[in-house]
Point group: C2
């Protein structure tokens, strides 16, 4: 029993006792670990098979920890939507900076949306939540509001990227919704039958389709 002396800022034994963390940091990290685990499980097994118990233990924790940070399963689900929404916003902002310089914007836009959003497991998680929360009106409303936030990010980027004055407003947004619908459909298919080459061809095709729609 040597070495029991307190070392307030110990890096003496590197891997034995983790460095002191502040509560705030612990909380933040734990919460995001739980959210990550939830996304992962929702993506893998779907809403019905994703219990709070699985989520917690998948994150290396227990239900006690989870319910300390999220009072109910609904709260966790909303937190997942919120986190995904935030991440999406960041990625889209990134895309915005990248895209504005190039010319074949439709193609780049479609691919950017796939890479940043629809091709990501997190997107599948949000779909699962969206469908799975239908039966609970209260949860549904909260989820829906998060979804709205997220959708607005996309709308604004689309508008700023692809606004051509020669095209009527409604046709432009219709084209956007059609693109989104297609990407959503591909995301669902990608879930049950993964095939990157196929997705690649579909994205290219979608891009040309949008291109021709946008320029009549």
């Amino acid at each position: 029993m040597q070495d029991q002396a307190r070392m307030p800022d110990d890096k003496a034994r590197p891997s034995s006792r983790p460095p002191r963390r502040r509560q705030e940091d612990r909380s933040a990290e734990t919460q995001s670990r739980l959210i990550e685990a939830a996304i992962q499980l929702l993506h893998e097994n779907g809403f019905a098979a994703t219990s709070v118990d699985r989520i917690a233990s998948s994150a290396g924790l227990t239900r006690g920890a989870l319910s300390h940070h999220f009072q109910s399963k609904a709260d966790l689900v909303v937190a997942v939507m919120h986190a995904v929404s935030d991440e999406r916003h960041l990625r889209l902002a990134e895309c915005y900076r990248e895209l504005s310089r190039y010319h074949n914007r439709c193609e780049r836009m479609v691919r950017a949306l796939w890479q940043a959003i629809y091709g990501d497991p997190a997107y599948v998680a949000t779909i699962e939540i969206l469908l799975g929360s239908r039966s609970d009106p209260e949860l549904r409303a909260r989820v829906e509001s998060e979804r709205g936030r997220s959708a607005d990010s996309i709308y604004s980027v689309w508008d700023e990227m692809l606004s051509d004055d020669q095209m009527p407003e409604q046709r432009r947004t219709d084209a956007m919704h059609l693109t989104i619908a297609t990407l959503r459909g591909l995301a669902v298919l990608n879930l049950v039958a993964r095939d990157p080459e196929f997705i690649e061809r579909q994205l290219a095709l979608l891009a040309t389709a949008v291109e021709t729609i946008m320029r009549p």
Copy 2:
């Protein structure tokens, strides 16, 4: 206590005692009632919130009846997929007869697919089943095989309708898959935000997009 005499084929008291039915008919009707109820509930509340108990009582029966006709929940789910697949096949055959006479085939094809399949609550039910059964590999395999059957119906109609010799094979099937992906995406959207006029515009836009893809 009069009129207790047996009347093998009684229409004497029209609404009192229902006419004798054969077991076969009873079975068939009960089973399809259960399947209908399952589709309805899957469409309304999603997979997670659709228990066999709800299904049975929604069909005016009990779990006992359900488990007499379907040994397990998995069996019922597969039966639903099978029934939807059959119905789809019939509707597509109908579409085939209607469509072949007209010329703007892409537009009619898109609308036909929406009306016959993707706009139907039964399609949502199959999506729920497809996503919900992911965590159970055994069920998953059975569901997947039914899905394949159903997909083949669509493929063959598409091929027979839209095969132009001037177009390479792969591009044609890619166009089909893109159409299907879009319709699937619209079906999911239609689930959380119903808006017939919007769907109408999207279908029109999709039709023109497919048209231009198919004729370069």
